[in-house]
């Protein structure tokens, strides 16, 4: 019995280098199967989370700032819809506000507002976004910043998830 166990042990850890680097058809198939399964589970989990979020309903609109609180060219940071979602509210003109998720779409570093160039800048890998609409201008990011819909009611800036975000 012990000698059979010994033999199996030797097969798993062969000393000759050509046997060590040899991949059997069974091992390769196992690798393909397990990798496919991992991909499937990952996709399934992502889809399930999205559905779960949608089923939970959309978060209510909330006021994040008083209009007079932010001068033109300034910004305010807030978190919406949860404490784990940092967002940035910009006042571009007297009557023009914009709000975006602060996570850079490249590797989720927080973006900063540069009022002089009217751009949102990610310092990690020099990514630039338009402050008008969140579209990527240069650098590694290829997708625009997630926009947060804004409405002004009774001198308060209210935010809610935009239609794209809700979907």
């Amino acid at each position: 019995m012990s000698s059979r166990v010994d033999m199996r042990w030797k097969q798993d850890f062969p000393i000759p280098s050509q046997e060590d680097s040899y991949v059997t058809r069974r091992e390769f198939t196992k690798f393909l199967g397990l990798t496919s399964l991992a991909f499937f589970l990952g996709t399934f989990t992502a889809a399930a989370r999205k559905l779960w979020k949608r089923a939970a309903g959309t978060p209510a609109a909330v006021p994040v700032a008083h209009v007079d609180e932010i001068p033109v060219g300034a910004y305010k940071l807030f978190r919406y819809p949860t404490e784990n979602d940092p967002c940035i509210l910009l006042r571009l003109e007297q009557e023009q506000f914009a709000a975006f998720s602060q996570n850079c779409t490249h590797l989720a570093c927080p973006v900063h507002f540069n009022a002089a160039t009217r751009q949102l800048v990610c310092p990690c890998h020099k990514g630039f976004f338009s402050a008008q609409n969140g579209r990527p201008l240069s650098g590694p990011p290829r997708r625009g910043l997630a926009a947060v819909a804004i409405s002004i009611r009774r001198n308060q800036v209210w935010v809610e998830l935009s239609h794209e975000e809700r979907a």
Binding site: F13, I15, P16, S17, Q18, D20
Partner: protein, 190 residues
């Protein structure tokens, strides 16, 4: 094509350290020699003996490696540990009957003589054999050594009940077929 083999004749060694210096020149382990130049009995004699890897047919170092880091290529050469696998446990250092593997603490890895694999695989001689002035380290064909030397090349060693066969051969008396070592006796002498 005649196969080249490595022959060691410790009785020819003059202790010049040329092999040690030549080994240090190698690009794959620059500045560090993989050869031990052993002093046989410092008090009684000036005799020295070069120790290179004997490249066992069934290498004890690879057998005891828990990290599967020591591999033997088709030509019978037992290589240094694979860097990404070696865990620096020194099992091989303790297991080798010839005392060949080095554990290098600074890089936490075992390194050993690989018979200048980069050179011998393209038909060149190992560094040490090219510089040895007394040819205690000789790299050539079996026919050549038979023609040049009266001694007999031996590659079978007996340590107690264990028989070890090696790729590298040691020149010994024409009468002997194998070299026998009684470890306990040697230890008692020490």
């Amino acid at each position: 094509m005649m196969e080249y083999e490595f022959f060691i004749d410790p009785s020819r060694c003059i202790g010049c350290q040329a092999c040690v210096q030549a080994c240090m020149e190698c690009d794959t382990h620059r500045g560090r020699s993989m050869i031990h130049l052993e002093v046989i009995d410092r008090a009684a004699s000036t005799q020295t003996g070069p120790v290179v890897c004997m490249h066992c047919e069934d290498p004890a170092c690879a057998r005891v490696c828990p990290a599967d880091a020591i591999k033997q290529t088709e030509d019978g050469i037992v290589h240094s540990s694979i860097k990404s696998r070696c865990i620096g446990c020194s099992n091989c250092v303790l297991a080798c009957p010839f005392g060949v593997p080095h554990y290098i603490a600074e890089i936490d890895q075992m390194m050993k003589c690989d018979m200048c694999f980069d050179r011998t695989s393209i038909g060149k001689k190992p560094m040490c054999a090219t510089v040895c002035p007394s040819q205690a380290l000789y790299y050539g064909t079996a026919a050549d050594i038979q023609r040049l030397r009266p001694e007999r090349p031996i590659n079978e060693f007996r340590f107690g009940k264990q028989v070890v066969r090696t790729k590298v051969k040691i020149m010994s008396s024409p009468e002997s077929e194998r070299l026998e070592f009684d470890i306990l006796e040697v230890m008692a002498d020490v």
